[in-house]
């Protein structure tokens, strides 16, 4: 067989375009089959009754959902501030010329990053038992902010450290050659640029924090301090219906979806700046 025969032979099969069409056709067919089977086998009225019952959606709103929504935002915001301040401090410690500071920061970050957040929350819930006269101020906010912030700081420290190291060396040289001491150069020149670089990943951490705030119920807050998950769970229990929890779940999306858009916008903006 000559070379031109082989080419002709190959042409007799499907062309790449035909093959792609056939593959796409199969994928659509599978999807249609699954949708049809699901539509006929599932008990839709029961599903709607358990997960999406309109009167329970309504009762969720009248029995305290907006308050829980606000609590979720308050818990997240406070924890984010603690995480940001703590994370910046830890990042600077990790880059410190003083070795023990580096060790402490590394140990802290590795410990709290490796630990499931729920373990930290359980520990916080037991603190009052271990230290009888321990009072964390701003109850319940103080405890929640601290528990969430301690974990968030570990994550954010690594992000911020990467941002600091991404600031070109020439920036520090320029600042120092103008006579700025290290501290001033860090505050005025390095950190503002570092935060610009890490804005998208930090916003990402904020989204994770919104969801982590749902772990607060482990601490055993009172009903008045319920955030979305605690509220939804409680109401779902009393009503024997999952609709309140689903409603609470959608409230998280109301917070996280705009944040996700913000992250994408920040990333696009950062990409344009370079």
């Amino acid at each position: 067989m000559t070379v031109s025969d082989a080419v002709v032979e190959k042409r007799r099969g499907l062309s790449p375009r035909q093959r792609a069409q056939r593959s796409r056709g199969i994928q659509y067919a599978v999807l249609v089959v699954i949708v049809v089977v699901a539509a006929f086998t599932a008990n839709w009225s029961q599903i709607a009754n358990v997960f999406f019952k309109p009167e329970f959606v309504k009762s969720a709103f009248t029995s305290g959902l907006p308050g829980a929504f606000l609590k979720t935002i308050e818990y997240t915001a406070g924890a984010f501030v603690i995480g940001l301040v703590g994370g910046t401090l830890l990042a600077l410690m990790r880059l410190s010329p003083v070795a023990p500071y580096r060790w402490i920061a590394t140990a802290y970050i590795e410990f709290f990053r490796g630990l499931p957040a729920i373990v930290v929350f359980v520990a916080f819930s037991l603190l009052p038992l271990a230290f009888a006269d321990l009072v964390i101020p701003l109850d319940p906010y103080g405890t929640v902010w601290l528990a969430l912030g301690i974990v968030a700081a570990a994550y954010m420290a690594e992000v911020i450290r990467a941002g600091i190291q991404a600031v070109p060396k020439g920036q520090i040289e320029a600042a120092r050659s103008l006579g700025m001491p290290v501290g001033v150069a860090t505050r005025k020149i390095v950190l503002p640029q570092a935060f610009r670089i890490v804005l998208p990943p930090l916003a990402n951490d904020l989204i994770l924090l919104v969801k982590d705030s749902s772990l607060v119920f482990i601490i055993g807050t009172s009903a008045a301090a319920y955030e979305l998950t605690g509220f939804g769970r409680d109401l779902a229990n009393t009503e024997s219906n999952l609709t309140p929890l689903v409603t609470a779940g959608f409230c998280y999306l109301v917070i996280t979806l705009p944040l996700g858009l913000l992250v994408r916008w920040l990333e696009a903006k950062a990409a344009r700046a370079h």
Partner: protein
């Protein structure tokens, strides 16, 4: 007393011995151009003058003060030394005006109004008084480098260091920066310039220093070092720089 006096300076990066014993002075009001092939140590020498590089051996005196002494107040010594970098190193998050005021307000403790007045004056000197509100990203390379010069001048330095200030610029933008530097020299500023611009060195420098292999090979007035070099190495270098098409005769 010389403004800058360097004695027996040695600097290595790992096993790479970049400066091998430099003795060198810059007098008040003098314009000194340092020339030499890449890797000859001229940028390192410049960066040792404000201790951006810490030498392993030798001393650097600025106005008689040994800045390599670890008890020296390095930050206050650096205030007197303006530095202009090859890559400009403007602060991208600050406007042109703020680039020129941030060190004035934080280091010299000048009031905001005073710092802004001085910044406007220096920006005017480099011909950019219409760009005060712009951000570095919005400027051409030549404009950025002139802002960098204005930023350094805003600190009233006694000495200006230039580290290949035109090497990162498009050819048509080089002239603007050199014009600013020429004006600065005429105003009596003490300048130490690492450069590849032979025409500038010949015209503006009081003294040209030729470095190769980490040592000063030859120095003197530009007419001598560039016009009539004594050393073979200087002649070879200048032939290459002044006539890039020149081909070394193969022995």
């Amino acid at each position: 007393m010389a403004l800058v006096e360097i004695q027996n300076l040695h600097k290595s990066f790992g096993s790479n011995h970049v400066l091998r014993g430099i003795d060198f002075t810059v007098e008040q009001g003098e314009v000194v151009c340092v020339i030499g092939p890449s890797g000859s140590g001229k940028s390192t020498l410049l960066r040792c003058v404000n201790l951006l590089e810490v030498p392993q051996e030798g001393q650097v005196f600025v106005r008689g003060e040994d800045i390599t002494d670890r008890d020296c107040h390095l930050d206050s010594a650096r205030q007197q030394i303006g530095m202009v970098f090859q890559q400009f190193n403007l602060f991208p998050h600050l406007s042109v005006l703020d680039n020129c005021t941030v060190a004035q307000t934080t280091v010299l403790k000048r009031s905001k109004a005073e710092a802004e007045q001085i910044a406007r004056d220096t920006l005017d000197r480099v011909g950019l008084s219409d760009k005060v509100t712009a951000y570095p990203m919005q400027l051409s390379g030549g404009q950025q480098q002139r802002v960098a010069i204005a930023r350094a001048l805003s600190m009233d330095p006694a000495l200006m260091l230039f580290d290949e200030p035109t090497s990162a610029l498009d050819p048509e933008l080089v002239g603007d920066v050199l014009t600013v530097m020429r004006k600065l020299a005429l105003d009596g500023m003490t300048m130490l310039v690492v450069t590849h611009e032979m025409a500038f060195a010949r015209e503006v420098a009081d003294r040209v220093v030729f470095m190769d292999g980490g040592v000063i090979v030859e120095q003197g007035p530009p007419a001598e070092v560039i016009g009539n070099p004594k050393e073979d190495r200087t002649r070879t270098f200048l032939r290459r720089v002044l006539d890039p098409t020149h081909v070394e005769p193969t022995p």
